[in-house]
Structure formats: structure tokens, C-alpha cells
């Protein structure tokens, strides 16, 4: 279904087992540049584990991940961040004691150049020296990034800007999710993985978030989305993938997947009617 020959991200036979449980079971997936694919499925279906495998936080037992034609299987998360893969976390992992500004600046860490010379061996020492001395180039870079952060925060209206110097732990739950997304955007990602960005949000907030993701898609960002709220999934997704017990049980355009008997059975079988109701 992906028309392009060179997918941006492709997973082949990706498998991860925990003891007797196979959390991700031989998953294949191709994601084209500019495409938005949603992954849905009941809790425990292996969606977040799949994200962890793609972003390097976990290593697969079998299978391969390639990104823009390169094999990235088992690379460290910090390498993958440098390659331009950014993600948000299901439970919201902001840096609690850092201000909103600092949280988002961390997102831009991989783009630091002036203060992080690419010199082998003594690079880290140079980085510390430059951080202490702060020549004009370093100051200018920092200033530029701060302006960028403000621009990113402005996309969330008045939600975050007035709180820019507050520590993240003092923010509301929804605002922490926004900070996470802002942090991911600060990385200027080529691939963005969003893990339930609207969890815990009320309908108004969900609608705002949906609008933002739609904007990002329009801007050409390639996105992999885990989401329970089916209405949002249907509106945004180019394709939908349904996972259950680690396996991919359906794939295709939203409407087709929605009416797939296997999908209905998987949801009903797990008794997760509440989510369907909330999504309806």
C-alpha cells in the first residue's frame, strides 16, 4: 500500500520476548516519508514495546529496523536521537525539576553544534571547556535555540508560554504532555513517534492536540502514532495498524480496519468496550 519504493522506516520480522510472553511477534511495517500511521490495539498488545524497539530503548530478539535505508537495529537511543528520531512517552516523562524552557531545550540537545565540537576522545572535555568559557558562538547558539523554543511553545497558545520558567512538576497533566511534544519538536525530528498524546485529556484539549498533530502532518512530518481515541485515529491516519498480543492483526485505511471482524473480536475479546465508547 505504500506507494514509495524507499520507505523512511521499515520493520522486518521484529520480535521481542519477555520470559514466556511474546510482546512483539514478527512485526513488519513500512512507513513512507510524510505518512502518518496509527497503531491501535488493546492494552498489552505490544504497542509501546514496539516503540521502544524502534527508538533503541529495548533490543529486539529477532528482526531488523531500518531508517532511511540504514540498518539501525539495536543502536542506542542517543544515536537514534541524533539520526532524527524523536518520541513521546505513554506515561509522560518530563524532567520534573527542570523548567518548561529547559525541558524543551533538552529536545534540541542533538542539534547543539558550537558547544559540542565533533572531536574524538577529547570532545567531551572541549564541551565542558566551551560550556564554562562560553565564547560568542556558543552564546549565539544558545540564544537562537531559546528563541526557537519560544516559537515551538507558541504553537500551544497560552498553555505553556506563561509558565515557561516554572518547573515541570508543577504543571497540569495535560500541560506535561504538551511539554513532551514540544520537546520532541525541538529535536527537529525526521520521524516522530507519539505514544498516546491525548491520554488523560478532556475533549477540548484532545481537539487542540488533534489540530496540532494535523498541522504537523501538513508540514510534512513523518509520524507514528499510538492512540486509543479512534475518532482522532480515523481523521489523521493515512493507514492504521491493529496489534493484538504482539501480532499485527489488521492493516489498512481507517474505515476498512474499523470494520474488520478480527479487530472487533480482539477488542471485544479483551473487554475493552470502555475505550470504544470514549472514542465514539
Amino acid at each position: 500500500m505504500a506507494e514509495q519504493l524507499d520507505p523512511m522506516l521499515s520493520l522486518r520480522g521484529l520480535t521481542r520476548r519477555f520470559g514466556g510472553l511474546t510482546a512483539v511477534d514478527v512485526i513488519d511495517l513500512d512507513l513512507a516519508k510524510g505518512e502518518l500511521i496509527s497503531i491501535i490495539g488493546p492494552n498489552g498488545a505490544g504497542k509501546t514495546t514496539l516503540f521502544n524497539l524502534v527508538t533503541g530503548l529495548d533490543r529486539p530478539d529477532a528482526g531488523a529496523v531500518s531508517f532511511e535505508g540504514q540498518d539501525i537495529t539495536g543502536l542506542s537511543p542517543e544515536r537514534l536521537a541524533a539520526e532524527g528520531i524523536a518520541r513521546t512517552f505513554q506515561l509522560g516523562r518530563v524532567f520534573g525539576n527542570l523548567s518548561v524552557m529547559d525541558n524543551v531545550l533538552i529536545g534540541a540537545h542533538t542539534r547543539l553544534r558550537a558547544v559540542k565540537p565533533a572531536v574524538p576522545v577529547i570532545g567531551p572535555l572541549l564541551e565542558m571547556g566551551l560550556a564554562l568559557l562560553r565564547p560568542a558562538s556558543v552564546r549565539a547558539e544558545e540564544e537562537r535555540l531559546r528563541e526557537e523554543v519560544k516559537a515551538i511553545l507558541a504553537r500551544f497558545g497560552e498553555r505553556l508560554l506563561p509558565r515557561i520558567d516554572q518547573p515541570a512538576y508543577s504543571l497540569s497533566y495535560a500541560n506535561r504532555r504538551r511539554v513532551e511534544i514540544a520537546r520532541a519538536l525541538a529535536l527537529k525530528p525526521r520521524l516522530l513517534l507519539l505514544d498516546e498524546p491525548t491520554a488523560g485529556m478532556n475533549p477540548t484539549e484532545t481537539a487542540e492536540m488533534q489540530g496540532l498533530v494535523a498541522e504537523l502532518k501538513v508540514e510534512g512530518l513523518t509520524i507514528l502514532l499510538i492512540e486509543h481515541k479512534l475518532e482522532m485515529v480515523m481523521r489523521l491516519s493515512d493507514r492504521v495498524i491493529v496489534m493484538d498480543e504482539g501480532r499485527k492483526i489488521a492493516e489498512g485505511p481507517g474505515e476498512a480496519v474499523r470494520n474488520d471482524p478480527k479487530v472487533i473480536e480482539a477488542y471485544l475479546g479483551h473487554g475493552l468496550t470502555t475505550e470504544q465508547e470514549s472514542a465514539a
Partner: protein
């Protein structure tokens, strides 16, 4: 060779003794995820209650055991109720510090009640010996083994099959879920502390009888060896603690066999570091065990640091700078010199423990490396003292970072234990590497402080010198914290997984923090060496590490000004309490407890 049989038996015998403490520690860790540094103090209390029972009341052995078990369990319950339960919803580091404070208080109370002189605690068992190998074992060996193994088995059965045991395990796995399921978590904690304390008390008494000797210094050693054994076996794993203890005993015994007595503890701590690096959850932890720390940054208290206006800092710095111009006694200046030296160490520790979250319990090792380097450079190579001190700082930065790097992959309490072990290893290497460090004789005749050819020997000049060095280090650190490194370090502390996902390499930034912090600590050690003119392996000891950590907590983790305020307070307070000579450590322990209870984020707050 028949000797190997003897070494093996001896290793098992002493392992037996370690197991008694380790089982109690494992039980508490299993439920509370807490390393109870007061376990050795309960062991001490048990030994002295046993002494009262045996020597004063002439109780028979079964009654003695009962008396000690009940009394120690009571102590455990009191600790749980008044020391730890109020900290339930506090940050995870608070109970750890509270147990350190409690151990100070208990040890001092025992010392004040019974005097520090060692006492004989006669065994109440018949003195028959059984020939095993070329040595003999006695009934106490069998009793200790019996108590150790039986208690481990009973605990295992209790945890598996009883209702309360089920509640304990449920609490261990997920406290909140257990509470929602109707488990009375407080009752579980009480049960666990009662049992662990009873076991700790009885073991102190048995070990006292075993050696026919009890004294107030036995507490810290028991805790240290118990923690090593417990972590080797897999923290929280009761049968694992027994096996870990036996393994520790064997490794020590074989270490003595091959290299000699003075290498004994070196092997104990090396074993710990190797196990932590290769199998961070211990040798016998099940693979599916939940990660030992919650995944988000609740290890450190969220807080709003107190913002001190710049002018106030300038006024304070200026005030201290001109202090010697007033008629102030040299004693006050010397006390403040100590505070400035401790302040440099605290700056270092507040960076690694506070800013990047690696709570180090072995920080005195960095002082020692700096001190020895600077002393030897100036003595043997005639390097000018000023340069030698910088050399000490650089060596401490490089070597310290290298030594601590194996612990970079660890998290939470495991970092503390690994750094504690690394600190001990450094001290033991200094003791044994005689060709360089002159071993226990130490280094004497270290030249006094001097700068550009001028000797700094008056207290006033030393005061200015150490104040200036500390202020420069503090300013540098403040500048570092204001850079992208500051936020990177703090991000790693708050959530290392999210930090990695945004491209922050843990090894790189933890190394940088230790390099920067190691330099400050090394400089402090170097200055101290030239100030004291004599150092040996005991000069920079574990107490120093614990003091530095207390300073850092007092001031507020990661807080530069807080580290200095904390140093002045903790050097000054014991001096103020000098009038109360014997009571001052007791007072110090109580102050620590109150602090943890009422202001866990420190005086000036975490940054």
C-alpha cells in the same frame, strides 16, 4: 591440599555470621526497597541486651534469645513508627538518610549507656569442639548456621504461604496496588521491621558470644558486610542473601589464602563491584524482577529552590573575606578553614549526587587520591605546592572518574552501594600499595601550603587561600550549571531514559560531572594534605563521605550555595556542641533525623 578445605570451612563459618545480618537487610529491602543502615545498630543493641541478660540477669540461653528478640523487635517497631513511617510519602532518598541518622543515635545511646569499653559476652553453650579438617567447630557455629538457615527458610515459607506474607510480597511488588487491594501497608511494614529487628538483635548477641566480645564499633562493620552480602545475593532476595553471605565469606577466606590478611576486605568489596557491574540485581535475582527504582524522578524531592539575591551573596562573601581583619580567634578561623575544605568536597558531591543524581557514599576516596597525589608530587618530585595541589585535583578527576565509571550503568541505591565499595577499595589499595603510599605508616613531613614561593602558614593566610579556592570552584560550578551541561545533568538525574531518548549519553555526562567534581574534591584533599603535613589511609574515611552527603542534603541537592551553607553548619554545629562532648554525635544524629523529616529538600532546596 588440606589447607583449602580449612579455608573453605572458615569462609563458610564467617559467611554464616554475615548471613544473620544480610537476611534482615534483604527482608526490609524486599518490602521497602530500602537499605537499612540502622540494621547494624539493632545488631549492636541486641548484643548489649544479651549482655545484660546473660551477665546481670543470668538468664538461660533460650530465655536470653527470647528476651533479645522481643527487645530488638520493639526497637525495630519504634524505628518504623517514628523514624520511617512519617517519610512514606517523602522522596526515596529520605528513608535512606533517616536510617543513617537512626544508626548514629542508637550507637551513641549504647555507647553512653555502656561506655565504649569492649565487654565479654560469655557463650552459654557447652564448650565442646568437633574436629573438621584440621580445625574445629563448636556448638555456636552450628547454632548460628541453624539460626541463619532456619530464619531464611521460615521467612521464605512465611512470604510464600501466609496471608501476611502474601501481603508483604504484594507490597513489595507494588505498594499502591497493594493498598488499593486492601493490604494494610503499615501493618506489613511493622511486621517486616519487627521480624528483621528481632533477627538482627539475636544475631548481634550470637556473634558477640561467638567472639566473646562486644563493643560499640561492631555496628558499622556489621552493616557494611551485611549490605555487601545482601547485594551480592540479590537485594530483597532472602535465600539469595544467605548464599551471598556464604560466597562473601569464601571469597574473603580465599583472598586471605592467596594474598594475605591485609587484602581481605579488598576482595569483599571487589566482589561487590564485579557483581553489581555484571548482574546489577544480584546473582540470584530472578530475571523478571521489576526494576528496583520507579522510572520517573521521585528519587529527588521536587522543590522550588530558595533564590538568594546576588547582593546578599556578595555581602556574605565579602564579610567572610574581611573576617580575619577583625579580632577573631585562630580557632574560629581554623574551624572555618575546615568548613571551606568540606565545602569544596560538598560542591563536588552536590554536583554528582545532586545535579546528576549519582548519590555517592565513597566520596572521601576522591579526597584521598588528591591528597596522596599532591603530597607525593611535592615530596618526591619537588613540584611546587600550588602546582601539586592542581595535580592532585587533576588526578582525582581522572582516576576517580575511571574508578567510578563501572557504576554509571547503575541506578538509585545501587549507585550508593557501588560507590561505597569503590571508596573502601581505594582506601585498602592505599593501605596495601606500600611502595607508593607508604602503607599504614603514611606520609609525613608534607611541605606546608605555599604559593609563588611564599609559605602560607599563618591561619589567616590559609583561611584566605582556602576561601578563595572554594569561591572560585563555586563560581565555576555555578557557571557550569547555567550552561547546557547544567540542564543536561539535571535531565539525566530526573529521568535517564527520557534523557537518552533525546540524545544525552549517560556515560559522557556522568563522566563530565565526575571529572568536574573530582577536581574540586581532589583540590580539597590536596590542600588538606599540606595543611596536616601528615596523612595515612585513615585520614579520609567513610565517616567523611557520610558527612559530605549530609552536608549536601542539608544544603539542598545540587545547590551550590547550599553546599557551602551546609558545610559551615555541619562543621560549626559540632564545635558549638563541644560543651556537650559525649553527646554531640547524638545531637548530630537527631538534627539529621529532624531535617530529613521536616525539610527533605534541604535548607535552600534542590536545584
Amino acid at each position: 591440599m588440606s589447607s583449602w578445605l580449612d579455608y573453605t570451612i572458615n569462609g563458610l563459618i564467617v559467611g554464616n555470621v554475615y548471613a544473620l545480618v544480610a537476611v534482615g537487610l534483604a527482608l526490609i529491602f524486599g518490602v521497602s526497597r530500602l537499605i537499612n543502615f540502622a540494621q547494624g545498630s539493632i545488631y549492636l543493641v541486641g548484643a548489649y541486651i544479651g549482655w545484660v541478660a546473660v551477665v546481670q540477669l543470668h538468664t538461660p540461653l533460650p530465655l536470653t534469645i527470647l528476651v533479645v528478640a522481643v527487645a530488638a523487635a520493639l526497637v525495630g517497631l519504634i524505628i518504623e513508627r517514628f523514624g520511617l513511617r512519617p517519610l512514606q510519602n517523602s522522596v526515596r532518598i529520605a528513608p535512606l538518610l533517616a536510617t543513617i541518622g537512626i544508626s548514629f543515635v542508637l550507637d551513641q545511646l549504647v555507647m553512653l549507656t555502656f561506655s565504649p569499653n569492649p565487654r565479654a559476652l560469655p557463650s552459654q553453650l557447652p564448650d565442646v569442639r568437633f574436629q573438621v579438617g584440621n580445625g574445629t567447630i563448636g556448638p555456636l557455629d552450628l547454632l548460628i548456621a541453624g539460626v541463619g538457615i532456619t530464619s531464611a527458610l521460615l521467612l521464605f515459607v512465611f512470604l510464600r504461604y501466609s496471608k501476611l506474607g502474601w501481603a508483604v510480597r504484594a507490597t513489595a511488588q507494588d505498594r499502591d496496588a497493594a493498598m488499593q487491594m486492601g493490604v494494610d501497608v503499615n501493618r506489613v511494614n511493622q511486621a517486616v521491621f519487627g521480624i528483621a529487628a528481632a533477627l538482627g538483635g539475636v544475631s548481634g548477641m550470637l556473634v558477640g558470644m561467638y567472639y566473646n566480645q562486644i563493643d560499640t564499633a561492631m555496628s558499622l562493620q556489621a552493616t557494611l558486610k551485611g549490605v555487601v552480602a545482601e547485594v551480592v545475593g540479590g537485594a530483597g532476595n532472602v535465600p539469595g542473601a544467605v548464599i551471598g553471605s556464604l560466597l562473601l565469606g569464601l571469597v574473603e577466606s580465599y583472598g586471605v589464602a592467596v594474598f594475605g590478611t591485609s587484602y581481605r576486605n579488598l576482595f569483599a568489596f571487589l566482589l561487590l563491584v564485579v557483581v553489581l557491574v555484571l548482574r546489577p540485581n544480584g546473582l540470584f535475582a530472578s530475571a523478571r524482577q521489576a526494576p528496583p527504582e520507579p522510572l520517573t524522578g521521585t528519587f529527588i524531592a521536587p522543590s522550588r529552590p530558595v533564590r538568594i539575591p546576588r547582593w546578599a551573596l556578595l555581602v556574605a562573601a565579602g564579610g567572610f573575606a574581611i573576617l580575619p581583619l577583625f579580632p577573631v580567634s585562630f580557632y574560629v578561623l581554623q574551624t572555618l578553614i575546615n568548613a571551606w575544605l568540606l565545602g569544596m568536597l560538598a560542591l563536588s558531591l552536590t554536583l554528582v549526587a545532586g545535579t546528576i543524581g549519582q548519590v555517592s557514599l565513597g566520596h572521601a576516596a576522591l579526597l584521598a587520591i588528591g591528597a596522596y597525589t599532591s603530597a607525593l608530587l611535592s615530596l618526591t618530585l619537588s613540584v611546587p605546592v600550588g602546582l601539586a595541589i592542581i595535580g592532585g585535583g587533576l588526578m582525582s578527576a581522572a582516576l576517580g572518574t575511571l574508578l567510578i565509571s563501572p557504576s554509571f550503568r547503575l541506578r538509585g541505591h545501587y549507585v550508593s552501594i557501588a560507590t561505597l565499595a569503590i571508596g573502601e577499595i581505594v582506601s585498602l589499595v592505599i593501605l596495601n600499595w606500600e611502595s607508593v603510599t607508604r602503607g599504614p605508616i603514611g606520609i609525613s613531613g608534607i611541605p606546608p601550603l605555599s604559593l609563588f614561593g611564599y609559605d602560607l602558614i599563618s591561619p589567616t593566610s590559609i583561611y584566605w587561600f582556602s576561601l578563595a579556592v572554594m569561591v572560585v570552584l563555586a563560581l565555576l560550578q555555578a557557571r557550569l550549571l547555567g550552561s547546557h551541561l547544567g540542564r543536561s545533568f539535571r535531565a539525566i538525574r530526573d529521568d535517564d531514559i527520557a534523557a537518552r531518548a533525546y540524545g544525552l549519553s549517560l556515560n559522557r555526562y556522568k563522566s563530565l560531572a565526575f571529572i568536574f567534581g573530582g577536581f574540586a574534591a581532589g583540590v580539597s584533599g590536596g590542600i588538606a594534605a599540606h595543611l596536616y603535613s601528615y596523612i595515612n589511609h585513615e585520614t579520609f574515611n567513610t565517616q567523611q563521605s557520610i558527612l559530605a552527603l549530609t552536608v549536601v542534603i542539608l544544603g539542598g541537592l545540587g545547590n551550590v550555595v547550599g553546599a557551602i551553607v551546609g558545610s559551615v553548619a555541619l562543621v560549626g554545629l559540632p564545635e558549638v556542641f563541644r560543651l556537650a562532648a559525649e553527646y554531640r554525635i547524638l545531637i548530630y544524629g537527631i538534627v539529621l533525623l529532624l531535617l530529613v523529616r521536616f525539610r527533605p529538600q534541604g535548607l535552600l532546596g534542590t536545584i
